[in-house]
Amino acid sequence: MSIVTVQLGQCGNQIGHEVFNAICSDVRGTHGLCSKKENESYHDACKERFFSEEEPEVPVARAVLVDMEPKVISQTLSIAARSGCWKYDDRSHFCQKQGSGNNWANGYSVHGPRHKEVIMNLVQKEAEKCDRLGGFFTIMSMAGGTGSGLGAFVTQCLRDAFPTSFILNHVIWPYGTGEVIVQNYNSVLTLSHLYQSSDALLVHENDVIHKICAQLMNIKQISFRDVNQVIAHQLGSVFQPTYTAEGGLHYSRNPLGDLMEALVPHPEFKMLGLRNIPQMPENSLAYSTFSWPGLVKHLRQMLIANAKMEEGIDWQVRPPPLGSFIASSHSTNKPLHFNTSIANLVILRGKDVHSVDLGSFRDPSLYTSWLNPQDAFNAWKTPRAFNKYEKSASLVSNSQFLLKPLDNVVGKAWNMFASKAYIHQYTKFGIEEEDFLDSFTALEQVISSYTTL
């Protein structure tokens, strides 16, 4: 089954481009560390998922590029084409001249309806190119105007036009100390709207990735390109082909569906966090060896202690002993900082992957009580190494990972809303105070749900 990627706004297009780069370079790489047959299966599965076979030599990405100003798309298209490894379909993009002015209302209420038909036509065309449509993957930031506002509108349109397809939104959380002053308003409006139409929100925080670049990748002068490449690597580690069943003979063909089934049992809980280890500069890869038990142990502790990366993990945090659950919905009995999960998915790629023991992730004390531990945890594997890492482990988690960031954003937005600052900029385009209140209410509900896990 194929995934159609919709790249929205400057951030969405810049990241989308790096994602296809990472996927392509992984597939073409000679570090698969597995049999030729395995490699070929992997290659074929990946191709089906992300590329269409229009031109024999150069695969064409299954993507629609949307932006309200022309510069980024024009750059993205030309850089991709120049790579010689893959390209975008020349007709599969739409842009305007004005931009959205970092205004969610402009993106949602003005650009959305105005350009709905053109954009959905492009999406329809890409969907039709797929033998079987597995769903949509949208990439956007919450902070600006196009990715956030137009992105929320497009997600709604996707839901209306494709009611049975899976929609996964990749959402970029901006730096805490602004890239955009009204980013908290835009974020609140985006998240509350996406929650209604999307199946799940997969989140990357700029602050976290920035730290990874600084501390793990040793990059001195970090650029957005560096940040985007780390994000692309992490996404690739989730979306490249895997076997979802023990002893499966074929690479899974329904990645989005499998993801939803594994991680989103309840529509109230859609916030997914992502961790990937190990991460290091490319020139260190050859000198590093890791053991699976070591990686699994670190990943588990990162989950429990809500660590953002593999350095600075708090090893003191422990899950509460089983049997200490009280029937009330308050989590006062849980130790501080312990990150409760609803469901987790671990993805392992590389050498000796079948021998890995993941029992520690099945520990019921990690999870909230209302799911069977059997159902709460899933593992996908492939012996085919990813992106030059001999061993690579990813964790996609539906847990309290994003509770604090969400609470922060809502808090700051509320603080600004109380003073009514900037509201006139939104009402100008048809988003009223009541709309803000609805969004705040919706998100406080989500926060409350995750808090009382």
């Binding site: 810049q14 100390t177 900037y422």
Partner: protein
């Protein structure tokens, strides 16, 4: 007016210089089309617009207005004559006599149709009109009076298009006695009809010019300044010999406008368009006065730039002597701040400096982390990187208070009022409304200042029934 046209002239000259430095192949591209039309003049006269391909003849998307002919004529006889469309001019003979009422009421009425028609013409040549820049001075008669009349027209005829106004405010020693009247009358119009105002004070421009002179003449060994890098320089432009004393000062303003629009014209990893500036920096409609600063003022030749120098650029942007009005943002209250960086600067440099400078700045309680940032890859001519800082800060208040005081000094004695009141359409109420508008604005800034340093009580959040 005179000021507007002289600054404008420098702007177009430096804009051409900037694009020439980047556009090596002579192709008419998107960046150029933001400011220039490409006109086919081969058939003689003004031909049709050419939208792609080689540059034929570039015409500025501009309307030049002055009620006396001297300044505009000089521009049209100078090295930039071919850049301006001869039909995009409105001039008269006698000038406005430094009288806002003459500019606004008399000439406004007389030239209304003409102005609207010419505006429509320029707008038609744009496939997507985003913004108008109005450049004028506040103290005189034409720029101030007719200029604000045009501002009104722009709002009426093109309500969706942003109006950015660059206003040169008179200094205390201004030789035009009635400049306080003109400025306050114009302020009311700016309050009500501009989206963003960038106030400029001659004193600040003058200080910057002096600072650079001192630097050059200090004769420090090993520190030769790159000629074309000075924010005051015309080097490399069509008019490289600076005859007029105001040229250096006007170049600063021209560079301000170039930097402001750089991210809209050129690519970068985090674009910042003009509508984003208005969106992020104007929390309440009337509080739209932005204090600007440009750094660095010049680049030294033959010197490698370690990151310490880069950080110095950020520090300088917040220092008193780099602001384009007499103001000290560091000791006043920030409502919002925008940083537009050009050149070889990455997001980590930006973040490091924001973290470093944040503790010494006071931000309003509801916008503690209110930073808007932009990264444009193309540096200005002569620099490897540069920074434009725009602050919505209560430090504009003293400028407005002084203006009010100077106004009241005259108004109390009814000095020169008759020159205004005998103009058709001008009444005493125009004066009282104008000063009232200014007073209200000052009061809004006062209220904000009162919150500075006070205890912070965050409003309580919505409670959800579990």
């Amino acid at each position: 007016g005179q000021c507007g046209n002289q600054v404008g002239c420098r702007f177009w000259d430096l804009a051409l210089r900037e694009h020439a430095a980047v556009n090596k192949k002579g192709i008419y591209d998107e960046a150029l089309s933001s400011f220039f039309r490409n006109v086919d003049i081969r058939s003689g006269g003004d031909g049709p617009d050419i939208y792609k391909g080689k540059i034929c003849s570039l015409k500025a998307r501009a309307l030049l207005i002055d009620m006396e002919e001297g300044v505009v004529n000089e521009i049209l006889q100078g090295p930039l004559r071919d850049v301006f469309d001869s039909k995009q001019l409105i001039t008269d003979v006698s000038g406005s006599g430094n009288n806002w009422a003459v500019g606004h009421k008399l000439y406004g009425y007389r030239y209304r149709e003409n102005i609207v028609e010419k505006l429509r013409k320029t707008a038609e040549h744009c496939d997507c009109l985003q913004c108008f820049f109005v450049i004028h001075s506040m103290g005189g008669g034409t720029g101030s009076g007719l200029g604000t009349f045009v501002l009104n027209l722009l709002e009426d005829e093109f309500p969706e298009v942003y109006r950015f106004v660059t206003s040169v405010y008179p200094s205390g020693e201004d030789d035009v006695i009635t400049s306080p009247y003109n400025s306050v009358l114009a302020m009311k119009e700016l309050n009500e009809h501009a989206d963003c105002v960038l106030p400029i004070e001659n004193e600040s421009l003058f200080d910057i010019v002096n600072k650079i002179h001192q630097m050059i003449n200090s004769g420090k060994l090993g520190s030769t300044v790159k000629q074309n890098s000075m924010v005051t320089s015309s080097a490399g432009s069509a008019k490289s010999v600076q005859e007029k004393p105001f040229d250096a000062m006007n170049n600063i303003v021209a560079n301000l406008l170039l930097n402001l629009t750089s991210s809209a014209r050129f690519e970068g990893s985090l674009n910042m368009d003009l509508n984003e500036i208005s969106m992020n920096l104007v929390p309440f409609p009337r509080l739209h006065y932005l204090v600007s600063s440009l750094t660095p003022l010049y680049t030294l030749a033959d010197v490698n730039v370690p990151s310490r120098r880069l950080d110095q650029m950020f520090s300088d942007a917040f220092s008193r002597d780099h602001q384009l009005i007499q103001a000290d943002p560091k000791h006043s209250l920030y409502l919002a701040c925008a940083l537009l960086v050009r050149g070889n600067v990455q997001v980590s440099d930006l973040r490091r400096n924001i973290e470093r400078l944040k503790p010494s700045l006071h931000f309003v309680s509801w916008n503690q982390e209110g930073w808007k940032t932009g990264l444009c890859s193309v540096p200005p001519v002569g620099h490897s990187h540069s920074l434009l800082a725009l602050a919505n800060n209560t430090c504009v208040k003293p400028t407005f208070i002084e203006l009010k005081d100077r106004f009241m000094k005259l108004y109390k004695k009814k000095a020169h009022l008759h020159h205004y009141l005998h103009i058709d359409g001008m009444e005493q109420s125009c004066f009282s409304e104008a000063i009232s508008s200014l007073s209200d604005l000052i009061e809004e800034y006062n209220e904000l200042d009162a919150t500075k340093g006070g205890p912070r009580t965050d409003p309580s959040r919505l409670k959800i029934a579990v």
